[in-house]
């Protein structure tokens, strides 16, 4: 088979525009691109198999985007769209160039990181529908969204941190420069007037910087203090503010020591840690927003007059007619009113074989419509749908997980009171016991606060996490939640789902040697005309089978072709006229009925992923318990379990059963890693201590899981566990380093021996040591 010149998919034999293109839409798209002189696109692009192929939708009935268009000044309108089908940077270039060549377009800019397109045009010259259609005709899917509903809070926070970091960095550099002269002056006999001048200049730089760059810490400290708790930000804020205040006092009274440099560098290092922490989760946040916005903005409603409108799901009402195009997820729970098709319900119940649907069948939100467009009458919306029910289960289960307290917070909870106590004792000790003046006692107490300040401690966790997430990201594993690595490291039990997780979720022909060769070839040549998953499996089983002409497809039933002695049929039992006798019916099957021969049965099974058995063995070798929980029937689950070497398996589990089973394990003190993909797994993913899900999983499952992995292999599970364990070891080493450093400097500080020079050197040295230790994670094997 040849690949389509536009979308790169295989060209089916019955294509009207064979052999160059797979369908008329692709041919038209290619012409458009060539006509605009942009055909360099085809040399420059690299197709990503994980992304939606660039095949234009067959029926391009006009869609009204009016609801999402926003007015701007001077008759310019803007539309924000999510782009599906962005393969690489060449796609960005193509979309921007095509739009830029349309009359009336003011600007079109695709953000490759967030996969969003901002389109601006002059309202008098063109309109949204035709602009969007020009890009949709190339095969991209554009979904309008309201930028206001997306969570801008995280983005704003990140920018604030970056600004604070820039200011603190500037101040730290300059104040350090001045401090070096002051220190040098101590030994070379700088006059007190010059020293005071340098102190004043330092104060001038440091005080505004401390006031501005410290805000993220002050805000968090005040919030927890109001709630009656302590966190790491309380000693940080206290140390920075007191050090600045005391240094100002010293400067004003002409004293020899000012700690402006310590205060500002402390802030700078802490902001670096905080920013890294934020940044690591940024990518995952964007991905999550993309999924949620897609689910939340797109439902195509067919009006009474036949016009189509994309409306937000909140505006759907029972009784409306909603269109589900072939290959699209059905947006609502409802009843089919027009069209026959096959619906992939694997996300709901784990079934591999698509269920045929016809007018009158009930369908559920989140299922995938495979072969032909369907019109669905909305039965339930929003809170009443099965999808919403599952989301509620997820939320309930997630509340349990929120109780996990990150290691850094547990340390902080112990550390903060100790630091405060120590500083207070130092102050009282020097003032009352030694009899020093209170200013000097306060000075020493503040020095204690500065050196104990958890600079290394605050860097220890984020530095390791950033490097661990970066390493995993390069292997195609996206870690979404901050404490996921920590929870992964403590895992002692791994629970797998079957369909789509342990298996590929794609049926394969079984026992093909036992089947008559002629029948197999005939069936494969008929199947080549269909896109049904079982038909594709037949085609894969017979490479190079000729493609039969004149094949007629009845969606949901089967295929038929006129043969020499009568009609040859390939499809379900009923389609081939075979009595339903319960024999051999454990699993997906196809029948071939020929006029002059006995019917032939093709049985299919979902094969385990290539490395499933190896991964299970490797997990067992590392003394992890492995279990299998599936919604599928007993014999099928048992067979898969034996094949990959899992002894502990349970079949026929409803979503609730899986949660109960996981809760039992948790009650027995096990730390469970759940690996699953289906919508039915989503509550279990949320209920487990930590969860992984393949990138082919349902949106809800990807949202519920702590990490998402790409690819056809299960090996990422091992990699994630390995990296998490190493990261955990490094975090503990870093804590040890930080405590060792404190063990040396605290006695010095309490004894009143810490000058600004000692504080600066000790602080920088410990931060660098912690970061250097974290960098080791980037290299070497995971286990």
């Amino acid at each position: 088979m040849t690949a389509c010149r536009h979308c790169g998919l295989d060209v089916p034999a019955d294509s009207p525009v064979a052999p160059a293109f797979c369908c008329a839409g692709c041919a038209a798209a290619y012409d458009t691109v060539e006509g605009l002189g942009l055909d360099a696109y085809y040399q420059r692009r690299c197709l990503d198999p994980a992304v939606r192929p660039l095949r234009p939708d067959e029926d391009g009935a006009p869609v009204d985007y009016g609801a999402h268009v926003r007015d701007e000044a001077d008759g310019i309108k803007a539309l924000h769209l999510m782009v599906e089908g962005l393969h690489c940077a060449a796609c960005v270039w193509l979309i921007e160039s095509v739009l830029a060549r349309q009359p009336g377009v003011v600007s079109a800019r695709v953000n490759m990181t967030t996969r969003r397109l901002v389109l601006r045009w002059r309202a008098c010259e063109t309109d949204a529908d035709s602009l969007v259609a020009s890009v949709a005709a190339l095969g991209y899917r554009l979904v309008p969204f309201d930028p206001a509903v997306l969570d801008r809070e995280g983005e704003r926070r990140e920018k604030e941190l970056l600004r604070a970091m820039a200011v603190a960095g500037f101040a730290a550099g300059n104040v350090m420069l001045l401090s070096v002269s002051v220190w040098a002056g101590h030994f070379q006999g700088m006059g007190p007037a010059t020293r005071d001048l340098l102190h004043w200049i330092s104060a001038l730089i440091a005080l505004p910087a401390i006031a501005y760059a410290g805000v993220p810490f002050y805000r968090s400290a005040i919030t927890v203090l109001r709630a009656g708790h302590l966190n790491m930000d309380v000693p940080i804020s206290l140390a920075v503010v007191l050090a600045a205040g005391m240094s100002l006092h010293e400067t004003a009274t002409g004293g020899p020591h000012a700690y402006f440099d310590s205060a500002v560098t402390l802030l700078f290092f802490l902001l670096v840690g905080r920013y890294l922490d934020h940044r690591a989760r940024g990518k995952a946040r964007v991905a999550g927003e993309h999924l949620l916005a897609l689910a939340a903005t797109a439902a195509t409603v067919i009006e009474a007059d036949g016009r189509r409108r994309i409306v937000p799901p909140t505006r759907l009402r029972p009784g409306m007619a909603v269109l589900a195009a072939a290959g699209e997820r059905i947006a609502v729970d409802g009843r089919v009113t027009a069209g026959t098709s096959d619906v992939d319900t694997s996300l709901i119940n784990g079934e591999t074989v698509p269920a045929p649907v016809a007018p009158g069948t009930d369908v559920f939100a989140g299922t995938l419509n495979l072969s032909a467009p369907l019109t669905v009458e909305v039965g339930a919306v929003g809170e009443d749908t099965l999808l919403a029910e599952i989301v509620r289960l997820v939320e309930a289960a997630e509340q349990g997980r929120a109780r996990h307290v990150a290691l850094a917070d547990r340390v902080a909870r112990l550390y903060a009171p100790v630091v405060h106590g120590l500083a207070l004792l130092t102050f009282l000790g020097w003032w009352l016991w030694v009899g020093a003046p209170w200013q000097e006692s306060l000075l020493i107490a503040i020095a204690v606060l500065i050196v104990t300040c958890p600079c290394a401690l605050a860097l220890a966790v984020p530095a390791v996490q950033v490097i661990a997430s970066g390493r995993l990201l390069r292997r195609g594993i996206l870690v979404k939640s901050g404490s996921a690595l920590e929870r992964l490291a403590g895992t002692d039990t791994v629970v797998f789902d079957k369909t789509g997780t342990l298996t590929t979720g794609r049926p394969e022909l079984m026992d093909d040697t036992a089947i008559d060769g002629d029948a197999l070839r005939l069936a494969a040549s008929m199947a080549a005309a269909s896109t049904h998953p079982l038909a594709r499996a037949l085609v894969r089983a017979v490479p190079g089978a000729p493609v039969a002409g004149g094949v007629r497809e009845e969606p949901g039933r089967g295929l038929a072709v006129a043969g020499s002695g009568g009609e040859v049929r390939l499809g379900s039992r009923a389609w081939c006229g075979i009595a339903d006798d319960d024999h051999h019916s454990d699993g997906p099957e196809l029948w071939l009925a020929r006029p002059d021969a006995a019917p032939v049965r093709f049985a299919f099974a979902d094969r385990p992923r290539d490395d499933a058995a190896e991964v299970v063995a490797a997990l067992k070798e590392r003394e992890l318990a492995v279990a299998l929980l599936s919604g599928d029937r007993g014999p099928v689950v048992g067979a898969t379990a034996r094949r990959v070497g899992i002894d502990d398996w349970h079949a026929g589990c409803a979503p609730g059963d899986k949660v109960v089973r996981l809760q039992d394990l948790a009650a027995a003190g096990r730390h469970v890693l759940m690996v699953g993909d289906g919508l039915n797994d989503a509550p279990a993913l949320a209920a487990a201590t930590v969860s992984l899900s393949p990138s082919t999983a349902a949106d809800v499952s990807q949202t519920a899981a702590d990490a998402v992995f790409q690819g056809d292999r299960l090996e990422p599970v091992l990699e994630a566990l390995g990296v998490a364990r190493r990261a955990d070891r490094l975090v503990r080493q870093n804590f040890l380093l930080a405590f060792l450093y404190n063990g040396v400097t605290i006695p010095l500080a309490v004894a009143g021996l810490v000058t600004p020079l000692v504080a600066a050197i000790a602080m920088s040295a410990s931060s660098v040591a912690v970061i250097a230790n974290a960098l080791r994670l980037g290299r070497g094997r995971a286990w």
């Binding site: 803007a78 940077a89 830029a100 600007s107 800019r109 490759m112 990181t113 600004r163 550099g173």
Partner: protein
């Protein structure tokens, strides 16, 4: 020592310039799409009439 009186302001001024340049870049959205910008340079060989819009609306 009197050189300090103009050397320190000069150093501060240069540092401030860098800081302002960075804050300007941040505000004007140059840190919004780090992946896209890296690849864009490979394709921008034939700028059209509105190929280079103002990046004033970070999304």
């Amino acid at each position: 020592m009197t050189t300090l009186l103009y050397l320190i302001p000069a150093a501060l001024l240069l540092g401030l310039l860098g800081l302002i340049a960075f804050l300007w870049a941040l505000r004007s959205g140059q840190f919004d799409d780090l992946d896209g910008a890296a690849h864009r340079i490979l394709f921008d060989d034939e700028p059209g009439p509105s190929q280079r819009p103002r990046e004033d609306d970070p999304t």
